[in-house]
Amino acid sequence: MTRIEGHLRFETRVENGMVMDAHCSGEMFRGIEAALIGHDARVAQQVTQRVCGVCPYAHAEAASLALEAAMGIRPNSNGQLLRNLIVGAYQLQDYLLHFYTLCALDFIDVTAVLDYKGSDAGLIGLREWVASELVSKKIFPAAPFLPRYEADYLQDKELNHTAIRHYLDALPMMANLHRMVAIFGAKAPHPVTIEAGGVTTVPTVDTLMHYHSLLAKVEPFIKQSFFNDVVAVAKAFKGYFREGKGYGNLLSYAYFPDQYGANHMTAGGATIGGRYTPLDIQKVTEDHRYSYYANQPDKDLRPMDVRRLEPIDYERYKQEHGKPQGKYSWTRSPRYAGEVMEVGPAARVVNTYKAGTNPQLTELVDRLNRELGISIEDYPSVMGRHLSRYIMSHLTIDRLKRDLALVEPGKLAYEERGVPKNAQGMGLTEATRGGLAHWIETDNEGRIANYELIVPTTWNISPRDADGRPGAVEKMLIGTRLRDPENPMELTRIVRSTDPCMACSVH
């Protein structure tokens, strides 16, 4: 599968146009947790963010939070604010990348540009290019936009043209957001300056102004173009508020605090069977009965129970593939209170709405629900997830503006501490695609003795657990009706709505 991060395969059994069974496989393994053992504790931040080039910011933050917990410190107010400015801008980039580059062309009809009769130079250029490609002798003309699944794309020509224009505009906007990350993070992808103790950059009036001027360009794009496109797609594909619902159990971690590390933008917690309860991290366990690992036992493991995951060899891998109930993914199966959970923007929105901790979120959700004729229960769905990303982007912009004004120029945002010896710590945060947890344990020289990550896509794309229950996305696929099994666009729309990040999920 393309237009997701990394290597994902899904296999479905379809009978009479309906998906009867589904298997999702993470197809790439590097073994980074075990490799970290013996490295200095601070190396984890730089290495774990390279688990993922799409959401490295979240790993940098989770690794720093885990090490800070082991040190028993938290960043000063400038440290927290700069971290927010780096992570927040990166999240906005990640939302735009997901909606425009990875998902939009599943709904928008890119060939509609051939009918474009207006005067926009970008669309005229694209129209002429597509036309010349289609008459060329290439094996695959108009790549990378063709071939594609033929499906029920958006019909409205004008909406298509506007959205294609925004598809083009989103690219420099994303580069802008990466530049905002770089102002305080040094670079994007892989910002280096988020360290346990704060952020190594000393903010100046100049750098704050630079950030401000770029944010001013991004805000109208998000609050107008992105908003209009999401709402237009949501109205045109209303049925997708009922597709890909899955179990409907939602997990999130408290995310985006104020300068004192409190009053988070979104709430931590779990909604199971429609009922919200605050987070109890002790309820997290992991299975790997259907994953390509040899360690025993293979169920109900607490984080850090496994010291070195042992991958099975190639021969055993081939045997497992031949078995009817064999192992089929590098991804493991985390569970919360024994339940299969969905993580991501919909989980953040629903849990925060139910917790009632953010009045601005409640008001925005209520307004959108009235406009679209939906309720909070419709959010765990293909379209609900896209809508949730807009809601998160909107709130993030406002938080960034507030935080930017609170930074004190010239004040060090970093507190130095030695690496802690024989210590343990946990860091919880959210990537755009869901809750992320890191655990660290150090030895008597401050080196890593054990490390574990439980990553958003591990929750969403998990294979079956030891009890045989399908993972969250597997469940979303099962029961889906296909208009045309040769062009199963419904399934790719469902999978992409969870924004899978496979390199993250296995690591």
Partner: protein
């Protein structure tokens, strides 16, 4: 900032300015570049981009190219036959594209991002086939190969100490398989988009890769270490060393990898020269170096463990 497509002449001027700024002016002239794109659709070179054991960071970095709209690279300079994050094709459509293009006589530039897990072929699988097979197939049929980023160029994360997959760089893999192809390595974690676009255009225009060093890195980007051209070099010479983060002075004694990292950060900083790690108060972590990631990176001034040999 909207992505208004600019005319070809303007685009080339911008790229040329970028290349001059990056210190590579002697390689391609403006006139040369202009000729690089005066082609019909059938003449534009095909590009196939694959992910090995990668994190997609280099692809994200590529999308950040500022000097020319990404869409122009896709529509005017090359024919991006397949890119895992941009192509609309999915599932068997993808394997079909790769196999038919490889079997055709059209030729293509093969870009690999990420490592190649040689001792564990099942550690990276695409379309039911190990990536090792795909890389062997596609590199064999390529006009030229580009190892994008540190993993494919020098080893990086998938080859870090303690990993089990037997990850190879593209150069090592081609040697291992006896495949002789022009190859360029563009280390950097992530790869800098300017390095990639320059290399691509050089190949498009001249049919050959830019001049390379012994590690197959373009000389004009990788001739000097970050230390050689560091903004804090005077502090180093005067032995003014920062004792902690936030203090003025050379960052060497806090773990800076600048002296062993050949790349052009000090001339062409990250994200269109917005910043560099050292300007951001952090020691260079050596992300473009052979040793990345080391056992210890940022550390305390009086750190004793750092004098121990890496593993």
């Amino acid at each position: 900032m909207t992505q208004t497509p600019i005319n070809r002449r303007e685009a080339l001027k911008k790229i040329y300015r970028a290349i001059v700024a990056a210190g590579a002016a002697t390689f391609l002239s403006y006139r040369d570049l202009l000729a690089a794109v005066s082609q019909t659709p059938d003449q534009r070179p095909n590009v196939i981009w694959l992910h090995g054991t990668s994190c997609t960071g280099c692809s994200c970095s590529f999308l950040d190219i500022d000097y020319v709209p990404v869409v122009d690279i896709l529509t005017k300079f090359t024919n991006m036959a397949f890119h895992p994050d941009i192509s609309l094709a999915t599932g068997s459509q993808v394997t079909n594209i790769l196999e038919r293009l490889e079997a055709s006589s059209q030729g293509y530039i093969f870009v690999l991002e990420g490592g190649i897990p040689v001792s564990m072929p099942h550690a990276c699988v695409m379309g039911e086939r190990p990536i090792t097979e795909w890389v062997e197939l596609l590199a064999s049929g390529a006009t030229a190969c580009i190892a994008a980023g540190t993993c494919a160029a020098l080893g990086g994360i998938p080859k870090m100490h303690g990993t089990l997959t037997g990850s190879m760089t593209l150069d090592e893999f081609l040697t291992h398989k006896g495949i002789e192809k022009p190859l360029v390595s563009l280390p950097g974690c992530p790869m800098k988009p300017e390095h990639f676009v320059y290399t691509l255009l050089h190949q498009v225009k001249t049919g050959r890769l830019p001049e390379l060093d012994e590690s197959k890195r373009p000389l004009h980007f990788f001739s000097y270490t970050n230390h050689d051209r560091c903004i804090l070099y005077a502090d180093f010479q005067e032995k003014r060393f920062a004792r902690r983060i936030g203090e003025p002075g050379c960052l060497l004694k806090l773990g800076c990898q600048g002296p062993v990292t050949k790349t052009d950060c000090m001339i062409n900083g990250h994200n269109s020269n917005t910043n560099t790690c050292i300007r951001a108060g952090h020691p260079c972590i050596g992300c473009a170096s052979e040793q990345f990631p080391r056992q210890i990176l940022l550390h305390a001034y009086d750190e004793k463990r750092v004098i121990k040999k890496d593993f």
